[in-house]
Symmetry: none
Subunit: 188 residues, 4 copies
DNA sequence: AATGAATGAGCGTTCATTCAT
DNA sequence: TATGAATGAACGCTCATTCAT
């Protein structure tokens, strides 16, 4: 009998530990040695679980997407009025700002390394968007798909601005404004 | 008898030709040889004008930022009502979608390769944001800095969504909605 | 309660299955994993029976040499005249051409990986030659050691030509000629 | 202007120096680093002249084949009777024994790394055989193609026997016997 | 000024071997 | 006994950079 290891579970543990590594250096710039070191395994072990750097990255993005959605949906609950909810969103984003920024780094990297066709073919990650939409619906009680897309787009924009080091955009301030605009638009 | 060349001007010509190269492969993944080929010069020549790959990239981002702002401000003119203006913005973004996406790739790459400190120190690119804000002011006639930040943030979010292959977000549709929300919010 | 296995016999079974593996890829190019797969055991088991890749190869060559001689001597019987015997040899070589070529691959590999000294020291495989000579004596009824060496040398040359893809050399034709030359030489 | 180098000529110089390297370790066992060291260049330079290890080896075999034929044809001249010629051949082979053995190592390696189809397709090296045949014709004054093939086959067998460390086969002795057998066969 | 040959550290990956089970 | 997970040195190859011309 060989060393007893749950191959599949250990693979996922390794993937989970990759987040900061890919976020901070980017796919192309990080080396398999650095990843192995960060994961505290040898390069050989890395290749025992993943056939290539590319495959490791793709499996990682898939796994991280799932986690990201679970995290977000779990945290956004309990606020009452639209305004309260928008501000709760702001607090959530502020609290997780670093994580969100890293996630943007990872996704941008991911999409840059896919050619457009590949993205359209496998559709790949539209289900992520879909789940986000559902979360936005639950949070804001809004059905209008265009309006939900508006909110999500704005959130992404917020994170992107912070990523760019734009300290003039304040997340809570902007979320408060979002709340007001939604209210104004809906009561009209 | 050296070839007579305006060193400074040629340097800028070379930088201008780098856009697609950096956008499509990313800083880490593209090689100096590929850049040299794309620019139709030898690697030796590249190093004659730029001391290193890093320096080339940084000079490129600086130059491209300036161009980006010039382009954007030049194109957004003439619409009358707030609604018309928001929709003009939508048309502009749709027309330049590929360019905008590439620009996001480049900037994300750029910020990823800076450590946070470096970003804050040289402030670096806050003047870009500033110019965008001025452009937004000119376009929408809005003075409120938080509101302007809201609009810019939303625009960045739009481009980011497209970059992620999210075809469910329609730029014109979202811009129309932006116009309505601004109107509703301001008349209130 | 260990599985009951005749260690020594299983070792030989494993060696016997190595023939094609070493012949087709060569010692340096084949990996222990590939060998293990070909033998339908784990690498661990392989190392349980053989201390190293080198040792495995050397034990394999020794075992295969013995088999090779047994095969050859068993098959060459019954022809009467010198001419008939030479032609019987031709038929045998044609029938086993692939095997013979593989055997050349293996032996060349083996001798290449020994430095000259090692070959002379352990004498290593001269007994193989010796057995071949005895077989040639039995087959052709020739005592002259130089003449027997001539015949064996020629046979090796035949196989080597085929290995090199030289389709212009026909084994039966050449064996017929060998018969004629031997006859002419001996009757003289 | 770059460093002035005749790319093509230097490439051939490098190939010429590869002989012992490939002969002594074999294609699969020798590393590009070892080759670079043996050639006194860096690995980078090696890859500047050859796109891959495989390509280097194939170019090397092609170049070495040409040299081999030139060498052999140049040296075999001047003997008078058939017997004298056979013995001249013996002397030549003895003198070049090491080289011939190395050449066998290289060719066997080469053919092992080609699949059978590839060998038949490009025919590849039949022209080598052809030139050898011409040389044998010139040396022995023999037209019969089967007989020439016999002689060449025997020569290859001789070299192969020596490669295998078979010291009981004496090249001059065997060549003398070859002369006698040819004479006996032809006068008959 | 401009070229591209040369370098060698470092990349993604493989492999003989070890060892916990 | 038998397994296959784990290791890390070493592989083929690439790359930013230097420098003779």
């Amino acid at each position: 009998m060989p060393k007893i290891v749950d191959h599949e579970q250990y693979r996922k543990e390794l993937l989970a530990k990759c987040f900061d590594l890919f976020a901070e250096k980017g796919y192309a710039a990080i080396t398999m040695r650095q990843i192995a070191e960060g994961l505290k395994v040898s390069t050989g072990t890395l290749y025992h679980y993943f056939p290539s750097k590319k495959a490791l990255f793709e499996q990682f993005v898939e796994e991280a997407s799932k986690q990201e959605v679970l995290m977000a949906t779990a945290e956004l609950e309990g606020a009452q009025t639209l305004q309260e909810r928008a501000e709760a969103l702001g607090k959530y984003l502020v609290k997780n700002e670093d994580y969100q920024i890293k996630w943007v780094y990872i996704l941008v990297d991911f999409f840059q390394h896919k050619d457009a066709k590949e993205v359209q073919e496998n559709g790949g990650f539209e289900w992520v968007t879909e789940i986000y939409k559902q979360a936005a619906y639950d949070l804001f009680g809004i059905q209008d798909r265009v309006l939900i897309a508006f909110i999500l787009t704005f959130i992404d924009g917020l994170i992107y601005e912070r990523l760019c080091g734009n300290r003039m955009v304040s997340i809570p301030e902007q979320c408060t404004l979002l709340g007001k605009m939604l209210t104004a638009y809906l009561v009209e």
